[in-house]
């Protein structure tokens, strides 16, 4: 039998070890990715659960969200385009989530991967998760966007087609001081129609403004402009937008004194939208709903109005939450636009900021709403 040298033994061990260990290491891959276009279906009961379509989508149902065990599905929406009612969908973020129209007992948490490189400069602040409801209406939800990881999060209350949308209807909240309003002369109210041959009774003077994503986008109509004071800018930064704003204002001046100034008014003021702010690495949203009606209840009723200079003091208003205020001052100006008149009314939304010593500092967002006399 042949006797092997030490070198031969060493060489043999090395070759054998090489064969055993094989060639160089290659990276292992995770088996989580689904094939393109593939979706997921899962039965989720009252205890909750998570449905996902990696790498872009997950939907987390908390306990009590679904009353009974429900087969929930999510499929990439490839064939039917997502409606553009609430903004332009970000490519690759639309999903068909069913059963369509399922109303959730507790909101479900949607997480969508939105690649920041797919967004134009400044679009990240305008991102929201939108759901097409069973009625066909498209609703956007208060959304948070993680700028580092590209994750958009919102809590939705209904299942249906969903997408990340970039709102085109957004009003930038400016950080300089708003211009002063200078008052002006109220135009005479148009007389009410009367039987032929007799003079008409004095009519009322109506100013109104309406815009919303579903009808006339506020951005394109220019009906509203917004400013934030120093407190707001200090706490929330200077990149603030009101996304998908909705303005509904109608002031119906009923009676006038001998100088042509109104003495009685009925109407409502409502401003809504998603207030968005960009923090360090996060865009966050706040569902803004500010509104008052004249009079003691949430249904508008006549109340006094006293005009002095550029301020009209409304005798009594009630907020949407039922808080009654007396002598609510509203700055205004009235200017002629062509053959008609335009009133600019100044409204303020108060934002509370708690300090570390538990005191509260108030910041204010000022809105100028342009009201016009409707065409008869």
């Amino acid at each position: 039998m042949r006797k092997y040298s030490n070198l031969e033994r060493l060489w043999s061990v090395a070759v054998a070890a090489f064969l055993v260990t094989g060639c160089q290491q290659t990276d292992q891959q995770l088996p989580f990715e689904l094939a393109e276009g593939e979706g997921a279906t899962l039965s989720i009961g009252p205890a909750g659960g998570t449905l996902s379509v990696p790498p872009s989508f997950s939907l987390e149902f908390p306990t009590g969200s679904l009353p009974t065990s429900t087969s929930v599905s999510a499929m990439p929406l490839i064939t039917d385009p997502f409606p553009q009612d609430a903004g332009g969908p970000v490519p690759g973020t639309a999903f068909d989530v069913g059963p369509v129209g399922t109303t959730l007992g507790e909101p479900a948490r949607v997480e969508m991967a939105v690649d920041p490189t797919l967004l134009e400069l400044g679009e990240d602040v305008l991102l929201s998760i939108a759901v097409q409801r069973a009625t066909g209406e498209v609703s956007t939800f208060e959304s948070t966007y993680d700028l580092t990881n590209g994750v958009l999060v919102a809590e939705v209350d209904e299942l249906g087609p969903m997408a990340a949308v970039v709102s085109v209807d957004a009003i930038a909240v400016l950080s300089e001081a708003p211009p002063s309003l200078l008052g002006g002369t109220f135009p005479p109210p148009a007389p009410t129609p009367a039987p032929s041959g007799s003079a008409g009774a004095p009519g009322t003077l109506v100013f109104q403004a309406n815009c919303s994503p579903a009808s006339r986008p506020c951005f394109t109509t220019g009906l509203i402009r917004l400013w934030a004071d120093d407190v707001i800018v200090e706490r929330m930064g200077n990149e603030i937008f009101l996304v998908n704003p909705a303005v509904r204002v109608r002031l119906d001046f009923l009676t006038f004194d001998q100088f042509g100034l109104p003495t009685e008014v009925v109407g409502e003021i409502a401003i809504g939208g998603d207030l968005r702010a960009r923090f360090n690495s996060t865009v966050t949203g706040y569902d803004l709903e500010e509104g008052v009606t004249t009079g003691p209840g949430t249904t508008p009723s006549p109340t006094t109005v006293n005009v002095s200079g550029s301020v009209m003091t409304i005798g009594q208003t009630t907020s949407a939450s039922g808080v009654v205020e007396f002598d609510d001052d509203v700055a205004f100006s009235i200017v002629g636009i062509g053959t008609t008149q335009m009133m600019v009314a100044e409204l303020e939304a108060e934002v509370e900021f708690e300090n570390d010593d538990n005191t509260v500092t108030y910041g204010y967002i000022t809105a100028h709403v342009r009201l016009r006399v409707p065409e008869s």
Partner: protein
């Protein structure tokens, strides 16, 4: 006093009974500035240069080796501790942090870490430590018989990154006035726990050259990776409603268990006249490491601004208990956060190829070594300190051996080391330790400490 996650972890891991150092295996090498490769013998030669087994002869048992390495950048260890504890100087220390925050790498011995984590699990609240790391059931021991040696080595490696803004949140507590500044950035962690069984053999070729080979079987006990997500701010809570969470921080992690791997080491050593020796070795020259990709578990946790309250902040067990119990990941039922936390999880999850070359001189009881180490840029478990040049000196005296060393790396890290060996017949008790220091290119500091204690029985041979 504040109790927060990061300092407690650091303290516990640094004080573990049963540690070992990956970067410089062996108390002798640690004391010699990370050198010690040229004249390493017996069990120590297994990880440094298997060719040296041919020169040793005799036998040698390593009964235990306990060590730990901690190296961070962005601040010093003491300042880091002060920041995490919310000390009076925390605001100024946080303000001085570099823009990319703090990094921290810890390497500890696996058996001891398992002991520590078991102790955490047994806390009254039963802390859920799975998202962080697990230890090893095998202690670090070894046996060398002439030219053949076997070494069992268990270790846990953990890496943390902490953004400057999150350090501010932890150190100074949540302040509403700063809410627009908080950012998580690259905050995250990873860990890997393995045991290796390495069998090495060395032989002489002629009278002056020796060659060696080692084969390694790697058992992966656990590997984790986690990250934080940017804070979600609820603007509607700014008014001070105590039931309202102004800020929610989400974190997610993934964990793999049951990895297996192999590695192959080579070495050569050439005796030169006048007591000189040159040596070269390669560790993991050929290697594979795979984890069970079908058993990957996801965890998630959410923290709110009140969890970072300076007075009522959470303790470590509370932070850990906030993690979900963990579920095997199903692609159809995984949150996007957990999915994103898994990105790149298995990529590069193998150990780096390390190549070493050194020149040594020995005369009587004096040994001098200079060693250079180069790491192949594959795999993600290379350390900032792995690539370096080390110079070490060893002086044997009756009963005692004195050691000292210095090392420096290209990225600005330096180390100053020292150690002591006690020889009582065949019983060798060695201890070594040192301090990392230096500056990065952006002038942010490197700082760290390390130490190793080993007990060996040696008989015969050199």
């Amino acid at each position: 006093m504040r109790r927060s996650l990061f300092p407690t972890m650091v303290i516990l891991l640094a004080c573990t009974q049963g540690l070992t150092a990956q970067m410089s295996p062996g108390a002798r090498s640690v004391a010699m500035g990370g050198g010690g490769m040229v004249f390493a013998t017996g069990v120590d030669a297994v990880e440094w240069n298997p060719a040296n087994l041919a020169w040793g002869g005799g036998w040698n048992v390593s009964l235990f080796e306990l060590g730990a390495v901690g190296i961070g950048s962005g601040t010093t260890m003491l300042d880091f501790y002060s920041i995490m504890e919310g000390g009076t100087d925390a605001p100024s220390l946080i303000a001085a942090l570099p823009a990319d925050g703090i990094t921290l790498a810890l390497i500890t011995e696996g058996f001891g870490t398992a002991y520590l984590l078991d102790a955490l699990d047994e806390l009254p609240s039963g802390a859920n430590t799975a998202p962080l790391a697990i230890g090893s059931p095998l202690p670090s021991v070894g046996l060398a018989l002439g030219p053949v040696a076997v070494r069992v080595r268990s270790r846990v490696r953990q890496d943390f990154t902490l953004s400057k803004e999150l350090a501010d949140l932890i150190g100074n507590g949540f302040e509403l006035a700063n809410v627009q500044d908080y950012a998580v950035g690259n905050t995250g962690w990873s860990s890997v726990s393995t045991s290796e069984v390495t069998v090495s053999y060395g032989t002489t070729i002629g009278g002056a050259l020796s060659l060696g080979v080692g084969g390694r079987y790697v058992m992966g006990h656990g590997m984790t990776q986690g990250r934080f997500f940017e804070p979600q701010i609820d603007l509607s809570c700014f008014g001070g409603d105590p039931t309202c969470d102004i800020m929610v921080l989400q974190t997610a992690s993934v964990e793999a268990r049951d990895g297996t791997g192999y590695g192959l080491d080579f070495g050569a050593s050439l005796e030169l006249p006048m007591g000189f020796r040159v040596a070269a070795s390669g560790t993991n020259v050929v290697q594979r490491m795979e984890w069970d990709e079908n058993q990957i578990t996801g965890y998630s946790a959410r923290y709110t601004d009140s969890d970072f309250d300076n007075d009522l902040g959470l303790g470590i067990e509370d932070y850990l208990d906030r993690f979900s119990s963990g579920e095997i990941i199903d692609p159809n039922s995984v949150s996007l956060a957990v999915y994103q936390a898994s990105e790149g999880f298995l990529e590069g999850s193998y150990f780096p190829q390390v190549f070493r070359a050194g020149l040594g001189w020995r005369s009587g009881g004096t040994t001098l070594e200079a060693v250079g180490i180069k790491v192949a840029p594959r795999g993600r478990y290379a350390s900032a300190w792995d690539e370096r040049v080390s110079v070490g000196l060893e002086q044997k005296l009756p009963l005692l051996t004195l050691r000292g060393g210095y090392g420096f790396s290209q990225n600005g890290i330096t180390q100053l080391t020292g150690g002591l060996g006690l020889r009582l017949g065949p019983v060798h008790l060695d201890a070594g330790g040192g301090k990392f220091s230096g500056e990065r290119l952006d002038s942010a500091p490197w700082d760290g400490y390390f130490g190793t204690v080993g007990l060996q029985i040696r008989a015969g041979g050199q």
